[in-house]
């Protein structure tokens, strides 16, 4: 029998599952309570549990990266260095950069939300390769542990970009093994991406066509394409650098006729697309949150979907903008400068479309929405300042100054981190079945965003006025900006620490969330929270595009015209065994 179709002011993509009663919820077996043993977690192939494993450790690594930068910012309170020696300072900012990029920004949304939510959004029971998914987590942990161990036993002082010849010839730090740690985490990145690509192609439920995919799935798909194509080049670059360090001579070594710039070409071929690996999943989250909390369909679905693909493709053609001052040929520098201008266009399209989505929507300011609005504001500033750097002429003055640091923190932290927090807060009720404190979550969001702004706006000013990056000492005239920046960082820190408390508290004292606390349209919300082991009690069938927030009772109208199928209608009409795919749209009873 068809599940009773409820009276709704919006139109979900498929028929919602019946809401369990309080008693049923106590007795219900879900993916969290079916087994509490440690082994059931360490040997799980359930994409939801693997997502939570990523969540725990990504949060731990974020804390480590934050600790490293707290040392940096405290040191920068004084122009002559307040608390660190010169060498320690190099190690502190390198630790901050490498941990944040490789152990947090790149893996967090694909590992947590990509794993947990993508299969649910497309109506699948799991990822295409569940065991590979678990392997991907173990590989990530191995690489991360190895890398952190190297940081602990001597650190890395080369900056996160570890350019030769400093890194291979002159630095006395454990580059080879640290590089091996990065290599291993890169492998994990590839495996996760492979899983997502194949899952999106092959595991969609009936009715889930490409044109009905939530934009988060489009974003994750584009991200995965980048990971597949770019990460191997980093792997081979790190390998060659390790060879150079081990042998004492290498292909980047000028004494042999080698070119250090070749390292930079190969490094940035990965590392520029890497920043799109970091931001695209965040952009996907923003599409989900903004539509839900404006109660409005996305403005320009196709534009936003294809702009993700556009960013993924064009993002591969701009890497030389990191090398304008390094000795790259002038002709190629101009080509890269021009294409970098072009890559801003798809991002701008997204920002315009999100803004148009909010316009005349019915907006509410829960924590996810505050983070999303913060994203819009901060990412736009980040993106615009990128144009200053894309212009080769102005980059001559701004390269390697705090302007660059402020630019990428606006996009990575003001953009990606805010988006991550938006996603975490949006899907927390789905993952845990609990609601968190409204007051504390909104306060944390406001503190994070305002603290962020205070931290990094002064850095634009300092950089514009010439303060170089990676310097432990600086001219006195920059001190005011540095003090403001450190003050802002403290406020940010409070903003990022609060979620630890209220989110964990929600697990114990939080109200039960129910299937769909946000009244959202996606498939993941049409099943109970926390989800059952196989996500859905029966295979969902998709009837509508995503984000039909403004259409009331669409499913009822469809059912009234006889177009809605139950599972058994479906199976009978197609003569397949229970659970197979078939053509959809056969009116029940025919």
């Amino acid at each position: 029998m068809a599940a009773a179709i409820p009276d709704l002011t919006y139109t979900p993509q498929s028929i919602p599952a019946p809401e369990p009663t309080e008693a049923q919820e106590e007795a219900r077996v879900n993916y969290l309570n079916y087994d509490y043993t440690l082994m059931s977690w360490l040997l799980t192939v359930d994409h939801k549990r693997i997502g939570l494993l990523y969540l725990i450790f990504a949060s731990i690594f974020f804390t480590m990266g934050a600790f490293a930068v707290s040392l940096v910012r405290l040191n920068l309170l004084s122009p002559t260095g307040a608390i660190l020696e010169l060498d320690q300072y190099n190690k502190a900012f390198t630790a901050h950069g490498t941990i944040m990029i490789f152990l947090f920004l790149i893996p967090v949304i694909p590992g947590v939300l990509g794993n947990f939510i993508v299969p649910m959004m497309i109506g699948a029971k799991d990822m295409a390769f569940p065991k590979l998914n678990l392997l991907s987590w173990y590989v990530w942990m191995a690489g991360a542990m190895f890398f952190l161990w190297q940081l602990a036993v001597g650190g890395l002082d080369t900056g996160w970009t570890f350019y030769p010849p400093y890194s291979s010839k002159y630095s006395h730090t454990n580059l080879t093994y640290a590089g091996l740690g990065i290599f291993i985490t890169g492998f994990s990145s590839i495996l996760t991406a492979l899983n997502i690509i194949v899952t999106v192609h092959k595991m969609r439920c009936p009715g889930m066509t490409w044109g009905r995919l939530p934009l988060f799935v489009w974003a994750m798909y584009a991200t995965s394409i980048i990971q597949i194509l770019a990460t191997p080049v980093l792997a081979v670059t790190v390998t060659l650098l390790a060879v150079e360090k081990t042998l004492g001579v290498g292909i980047f070594d000028p004494s042999l006729g080698g070119d250090p710039l070749l390292f930079q070409h190969m490094f940035w071929f990965y590392s520029h697309p890497a920043v799109y690996i970091m931001i695209l999943p965040g952009m996907g989250v923003i599409s989900e949150v903004i539509t839900c909390f404006s109660r409005k369909n996305i403005f320009g679905y196709k534009a936003v979907a294809w702009s993700s693909v556009g960013i993924a493709v064009v993002g591969f053609l701009v890497w030389g903008h990191h090398m304008f001052l390094a000795g790259q040929g002038l002709y190629l520098s101009l080509v890269f400068s021009l294409i970098t201008m072009l890559v801003a266009v798809p991002s701008a399209i997204k920002v315009f479309n999100w803004t148009a989505t909010i316009y005349k929507g019915s907006i509410s300011f829960e924590a996810p929405m505050i983070y999303a609005l913060g994203f819009l504001f901060l990412f736009t500033i980040g993106g615009l300042t990128g144009l200053h750097l894309a212009t080769a002429g102005t980059d001559i003055h701004l390269h390697d100054t705090y302007f660059v640091i402020a630019h990428f923190h606006f996009t990575m932290v003001g953009g990606m981190l805010m988006a991550w927090l938006a996603g975490l807060h949006y899907w927390w009720p789905k993952m845990t079945g609990r609601m968190y404190s409204d007051f504390w979550s909104r306060l944390a969001a406001v503190l994070a965003i305002s603290g962020f702004f205070l931290t990094f706006i002064p850095q634009f000013i300092a950089g514009y006025n010439g303060m170089p990056r990676r310097y432990p000492n600086y001219n006195e005239s920059y001190q005011l900006w540095n003090i403001m920046s450190t003050a802002g960082a403290s406020i940010q820190g409070i903003g990022y620490t609060l979620p630890l408390f209220y989110l964990i508290a929600s697990l114990f004292v939080g109200k039960r969330a129910g299937s769909n606390p946000w009244r959202a349209t996606g498939l993941e919300w049409q099943t109970p929270s926390p989800p059952p082991m196989h996500n859905f009690d029966s295979i969902p069938i998709v009837y509508f595009a995503p984000y039909e927030y403004s259409i009331p009772n669409g499913l009822r109208a469809l059912a009234a015209s006889g177009m809605v199928l139950t599972e058994s209608d479906h199976a009978a009409a197609n003569g397949h065994a229970h659970g197979t795919h078939g053509t959809q749209g056969v009116p029940s009873g025919s």
């Binding site: 390769f129 670059t237 060659l240 060879v243 042998l247 006729g257 070119d259 190969m266």
Partner: protein
């Protein structure tokens, strides 16, 4: 004979067809990463080959092309054997499947054995890139002896090239190290991929022994194994001309070198 259209299907798939196409796609997407991996190092190689053509030809001339030639035929034949193995699995012929898997493993192992011998000979000839230098005494134009530092590698490669009768005019023998770093890195990465491939083939052989492939629908796993193995062959197809055939060799030299490798000289 056709593979059965029914077979064991994992819990998260809806039907067998979905499972088969998914497994194939997974391997193809993985091979994309491998193309970019080897493509990256080949791009770096190309840059330097264009910059230093003479030095790279010289480096190539110092390699053992005899072993490389034999290895090429071994690897090609192993591609054949694994492809025949797919047909055996498809038809449900367990004995033939195990035979072809074993043949592939043997051919691959002989390849690795010869490669190890090749590396050993390179090591014996002193062709390892190094930053070490020695002081040698050379006479200048006026017959005066001067002490100068020369790279150990450069001295070794000059000796080898002299034996191979390669004209070293215009060759910066120190810079030939660049070529050799690529040689070791590219062939080394290829060896690593072969070792992994042999491990996977062995695992499949063990599975076959345990009757895993009795379900003929599972031929698809041999098929994806063959995709990986063919890729390894593909890389070698490019490594051969880029590394070994760049310099001038003669067929006689190749035979001579192979005999030397087998210890016949």
């Amino acid at each position: 004979m056709a593979a059965s259209t029914t077979g064991p299907v994992a819990h998260h798939f809806d039907n067998l067809a979905q499972q088969q196409t998914t497994v194939r796609m997974g391997m193809w997407v993985f091979l994309v990463t491998e193309v970019l991996f080897f493509g990256g190092i080949m791009c770096a190689y190309t840059v330097y080959r264009i910059w230093f053509p003479r030095d790279f030809e010289a480096g190539s001339a110092a390699l053992n092309v005899g072993i490389a030639t034999v290895n090429t035929f071994l690897l090609l034949t192993s591609s054949l054997t694994i492809t025949l193995g797919i047909r055996a699995a498809y038809a449900g012929n367990q004995k033939a499947l195990k035979g072809w898997l074993l043949a592939t493993i043997v051919l691959g192992s002989v390849f690795l054995g010869l490669k190890a011998r090749e590396y050993h000979l390179d090591y014996q000839e002193g062709l390892m890139p190094t930053s070490k230098k020695v002081v040698v005494y050379e006479k200048d134009d006026e017959g005066q002896e001067h002490a100068i530092e020369r790279s150990v590698f450069a001295i070794n490669v000059e000796r080898v090239l002299h034996e191979e009768k390669f004209d070293t005019a215009g060759v910066n023998t120190q810079r030939v190290q660049l070529f050799f770093i690529f040689y070791y890195a590219m062939t080394g990465l290829h060896v690593l991929h072969m070792v992994i491939g042999l491990g996977l083939l062995t695992w499949q052989l063990i599975l076959a022994q345990r009757g895993f492939f009795q379900h003929t629908s599972r031929y698809v796993y041999i098929e994806v194994m063959s995709l990986y193995w063919h890729f390894v062959d593909l890389v070698w197809i490019f490594l051969l001309p880029l590394l070994y055939l760049a310099g001038s060799h003669t067929f006689e030299q190749a035979i001579h070198q192979f005999q030397h490798a087998l210890g016949m000289h």
